[in-house]
Amino acid sequence: MTTDTTGTVVQPKIRLSGIEKTFRWTRRGRQEVVPALGGVDFDIRPDEFLSVIGPSGCGKTTLLRIIAGLEAADAGAVRIDGREVTGPGPERAMVFQAFGLFPWKTVLDNVMFPLTIRKVPAAEAAERAREQLRRVGLERFATSHPHQLSGGMQQRVGIARALATDPEILLMDEPFGAIDAQTREYMQEELMRIWAETRKTVVFITHDLDEAVLLADRILVLSRGPGQVRRVVDVDLPRPRWEYDVRAHPAFAAVRNEIWQLLRDDLRAQTEQEISGGR
């Protein structure tokens, strides 16, 4: 149980308890050990937009993969609506940094993919996929192949595919990281609109401070590796945020600055450690 800002008790959508992960492998006979997550405890609320930010190597992508069920934690558990996660499930869908579209499939077939795997009849799957393509404004590219589209368009296909099964949770791994700056701003706005329409619980990994603040209800700041919860920052900016200049809002600068201070401390510590040869 957790309490939200208004003091009401909310059942968490996703509960992370004591998540630990260490990567071990052998290279040229030497055992390499990289601790990624050092015990993450956190509750994600229903329908909230949560940004996760942290210095590089803090294990934020690993955390997302564990929530997705693509990777098993060494210790701890992920619970969704109280049920422990043991693998990927239909209530979660992922959007990938490198888009992850199947190059041999048309745009429509890519969006239909999760439905086909879930054994939805072809005609219904096509109809539902078209609906999502309409939502991201790509219906007339249904028969194109991914390589014919720009990066921004490809990621819109990625988002449409994730929405196809109407999941409760969207897991987004730096989805706009590989997209040029101007298109990124447009995509952020589009994502806000889609989120307002569909109301899903979103876990959004990013390394972009502005992006984290712009989109989120709350920001989870992870400490440098092994990642732990450093701080949770509430973003009290009025919505819809595409109707005014969010970046000019005083609260935007305040939140951004708070996170930057946290990250800067970690960056400085990391640099000093590297200079003194501690690594």
Partner: protein, 261 residues
């Protein structure tokens, strides 16, 4: 339209080599004809005689019958090669254990010239159809198996993960949804290389094992010193090889279009 311009440029680029081919053909066949007429027609009959010979053995039914028998052998040998090469390629490309078990033997077999195995094949499988099929099979098997292996081994890990995240959990589904579609261009290239080799294997089998098909014609006309008919009987082999390779190239290109990114 930019597309039209590009298409026009492409057509222009294609026209130039066609003119080149024509010039080369005139030079080669012209000097062949000339040499044949001036020199010893037993060693090298003029092209015109070869063409007359081709018409002769086509009309008297010798060539069509031989071709039919050869094509049967080709279909059987290449067909089994296609199935076995693809299956084994998937097996050793996807499963480390299979790779370790079969890998060394396949490498050894690959390094052995097929011609060195002919006496053995003769002993084991006899002069008949089975022996000949084995020769064709061996000729086409390795390009198919090796290409399938390479395509399957390099299955895109990121796309396997995407598939897993959307609920693909069985190995059969992984093969069907990700591994094989991703490997298809390489597999098809293996089939194209394989069919060309199979035609060579077919001629070898028919000449060295038991006389039959085109191979029998070649040996028969050679023994009779009918060089014109001999050349006329050889002619279908490269034509067949080129034609079949082109057909598979067409099929291959159908699976290749998305790779231009």
């Amino acid at each position: 339209m930019a597309g039209d311009v590009a298409a026009a440029r492409l057509a222009g680029a294609r026209r130039a080599p066609v003119a080149g081919h024509l010039v080369a053909a005139v030079v080669v066949f012209g000097s062949w004809e000339l040499y044949g007429r001036l020199g010893n027609p037993l060693l090298l009959p003029p092209v015109s005689d070869v063409l007359v010979g081709l018409v002769e053995i086509t009309v008297n039914g010798a060539l069509p019958a031989a071709l039919f028998s050869s094509l049967q052998l080709l279909a059987l040998g290449f067909g089994t090669s296609l199935v076995a090469g693809t299956l084994l390629g998937i097996l050793i490309g996807r499963y480390e254990l299979a790779h370790r078990v079969f890998g060394p033997f396949l490498n050894a077999l690959y390094a052995t010239p097929d011609i060195a195995l002919l006496p053995l094949i003769l002993l084991w499988f006899g002069f008949g159809m089975p022996g000949r099929v084995v020769v064709v099979f061996l000729a086409a098997f390795f390009p198919i198996m090796i290409n399938t292996y390479a395509g399957v081994r390099d299955a895109p890990r990121d796309l396997l993960e995407v598939a897993a995240s959307f609920g693909v959990s069985s190995e059969v589904a992984r093969l069907r949804r990700v591994v094989l579609p991703a490997a298809l261009p390489l597999i098809m290239a293996g089939y194209r290389l394989g069919i060309g080799r199979a035609v060579v294997g077919m001629a070898v089998a028919e000449v060295y094992l038991r006389l039959g098909g085109i191979g029998a014609l070649i040996v028969q006309y050679g023994a009779a010193m009918r060089t014109d008919l001999l050349l006329a009987a050889i002619l279908p082999l490269p034509l067949l090889g080129i034609a079949l390779t082109k057909v598979f190239e067409r099929i291959e290109n159908r699976f290749q279009y998305w790779r231009h990114s």
